[in-house]
């Protein structure tokens, strides 16, 4: 576990920074006598895409709701767009977008009406740099709902409804966007389009995006950085590639010999394979070499956190998991 950035290591004071969109330090949350968050630390810069991963009940929703200003924290220093979310005013609110899962609102409205109406609230907050709101027709095209603009919202399919939610989330051209499991219910094509949209928002508009998902493949595709929240703490923080590489540094090698299956994990695949082939030559068949994926890293880290085993066991756990 020595190779993963520990949250405690980032405790040095951050300099005040315009580009620091999210700055969370020692965020704690307690419901009654139950601690849900034990000191969450992370930051996000302008234009960064962060994926917040973690098992159900780990505190993802609580964390996001604190950042959205929808829930008061118990303790900790939190700055969202430079403002304490517990005291954020409407001007602050106008700079962010929120996309949640369980919205079923405005069912009797037409798609275009909803976007035009909700967009109107953002017009006074337009600046020279950011023109608000996003023009409705342009926005409908962007989320792929142009063909359904005149439909009533309650006649949309599940995937179309989610795209409308995303459209509402970005109608104010937010500097910061929260996405809660945005692609649940999307077909593969819609998912691909949505991923393109996220990239466009982050790259062209410099929107900072914090998304939660259970889809590790999606996290790997979208996120510049992945945060794993488990047991009320950030247990890992890094690029998808770095996480996979650092946590489970071992490579898994599978082969068969004389009809028998073998699995071996090693940090030095090259040396192991050289020895293996020298010894058994053509007897080695169906050879597979597989580097750990983000999913392996995630499973190992979460397992380690939940079982309370610490220090260097991640690799071993990974190995057992693969063999089992």
């Amino acid at each position: 576990m020595t190779t993963v950035e520990l949250p405690g290591a980032a405790a040095a004071p951050h300099p005040p920074d315009e580009d620091l969109v999210l700055d969370v330090r020692d965020l704690r949350m307690r419901y009654g006598s139950v601690d849900v968050l034990h000191g969450v630390d992370f930051t996000a810069r302008r234009g960064e895409v962060l994926a917040l991963l973690g098992p159900n009940g780990a505190g993802k929703t609580t964390t996001i709701e604190v950042l959205e200003g929808f829930r008061m924290r118990s303790a900790g220093e939190v700055r969202v767009l430079g403002v304490d979310p517990g005291r954020g005013d409407e001007r602050w609110r106008a700079r962010m977008g929120v996309v949640l899962q369980s919205w079923r609102d405005h069912g009797k409205w037409r798609v275009r009406e909803v976007l035009a109406h909700l967009g109107a609230y953002y017009a006074p907050y337009a600046t020279e740099r950011v023109r608000r709101p996003w023009p409705v027709d342009d926005l409908l095209d962007t989320v792929g709902l142009a063909a359904h603009a005149g439909k009533r919202v309650n006649q949309l399919s599940g995937g179309q409804r989610r795209r409308l939610d995303v459209a509402v989330g970005i109608v104010g051209r937010p500097e910061l966007l929260f996405l809660d499991e945005p692609t649940v219910g999307f077909d593969p094509a819609a998912r691909r389009e949505f991923h393109d949209l996220v990239h466009r928002l982050a790259d062209l508009d410099d929107t900072t995006i914090l998304l939660t998902t259970h889809d590790l493949d999606e996290a790997e595709k979208l996120a510049d950085r992945i945060l794993i929240l488990a047991g009320g703490r950030i247990i890992a923080d890094g690029s998808p590639d770095a996480l996979a590489r650092r946590v489970a540094g071992d490579v898994e090698i599978r082969w068969t010999r004389d009809g028998q299956r073998f699995v071996h994990s090693t940090a030095d695949a090259t040396a192991f394979l050289r020895d293996l082939l020298r010894e058994h030559g053509d007897g080695v068949q169906e050879l597979e070499v597989r580097r750990a994926s983000l999913e392996d890293a995630y499973m190992a880290l979460v397992y380690e956190q939940e079982s309370g085993v610490r220090g260097g066991t991640a690799a071993r756990v990974w190995q057992q998991g693969s063999q089992g």
Binding site: V98, H117, Y125
Partner: protein, 283 residues
């Protein structure tokens, strides 16, 4: 543009859009028509009956009383219902996630409820006029009084309705408000004068706005001679103003506090939890 003004303007437009939407789906249209059907059937069965102590048609007395009841019902129950439902489906959370969205939401609701009250009244009055007679329909004073009663009635009931809606989290608990409301309607002399009731029951009825809205509407549309058979033998305009005014003050003081508290507690996980509960109840 000033953000508050933008939100107020958006709120009014919101009310207009919701009003228009309410004419285009069967459920809402039935909501407009149903009270009229009940009213017409009631008046039909009252034919020949007279207000006790007079030769005046009981059906003609019922029409203005029912209009008054409609104001109270719309302000208290319909608004509460909408708030409860729109908390559940996430409309309120959406408003909260939008800059000045809560202000726009409330303005929208006030616009909607006021216009719905007026539309409902017209829908009830017009067909009923073919069945009743003796109302002061040509008097300008009558219509002015009616308008004043409608406005005061809305101010007295809408904030209380918003409070009720904010306090109920589960739509199923709306029944807790419906039942006492039905009892109050029976007490409030809408369909029959309450002169014969025991004094304490009359006193209870006169605490609540329904009685006074019925009385106010009767004072507007009935001939002055009918005042003699009301409690106290007069239209009691001052008392009407006093009681409705007291409810208005109470509502306007309570509503911002309760609404703010309710809005502060709204979050994605609460909406999700309600949705899950609703799903469980369906299955």
């Amino acid at each position: 543009m000033n953000p508050t003004r933008a939100a107020v303007r958006a709120g009014v437009r919101r009310g207009v859009i919701e009003l228009r939407n309410s004419f285009t789906n069967a459920q809402d249209v039935w909501g407009y028509v149903f009270p009229t059907v009940v009213l017409l059937v009631t008046i039909f069965f009252m034919r020949g009956a007279t207000v006790p102590g007079t030769g005046f048609s009981l059906g003609s007395r019922t029409l203005p009383s029912v209009l008054g009841m409609g104001i109270a019902f719309g302000g208290l129950i319909t608004l509460a219902q909408q708030i409860v439902v729109e908390r559940e489906d996430g409309t309120l959370l959406r408003a909260k996630a939008t800059p000045n969205g809560m202000l726009g939401y409330l303005i929208g609701k006030l616009t909607l409820m006021s216009t719905v009250a007026l539309v409902s009244m017209v829908i009830q009055i017009v067909p009923a006029l073919f069945l009743v007679e003796g109302l002061r329909l040509t008097s300008v004073m009558a219509w002015m009084t009616l308008l004043v009663v409608v406005v005061i009635g809305l101010v007295a009931t809408l904030p209380i309705g918003a409070v009720i809606g904010s306090l109920i989290e589960n739509p199923r608990n709306l029944g807790l408000v419906m039942l006492p409301m039905m009892g109050l309607i029976a007490l409030s002399g809408i369909f029959y004068p309450i002169n014969g009731y025991p004094g304490w029951l009359q006193a209870v009825a006169q605490v609540f706005p329904i009685y006074w809205l019925g009385l106010g509407m009767r004072s507007a549309l009935l001939p002055d001679a009918l005042a003699a058979v009301e409690l106290g033998g007069s239209w009691r305009h001052l008392e009407t103003l006093g009681v409705l005014g007291a409810w208005a003050v109470l509502g306007l003081v309570l509503a911002p506090i309760v609404l703010r508290r309710m809005a502060r507690r709204e979050s994605g996980s609460r909406v999700a939890a309600r949705r899950e509960r609703a799903m469980r109840q369906i299955t």
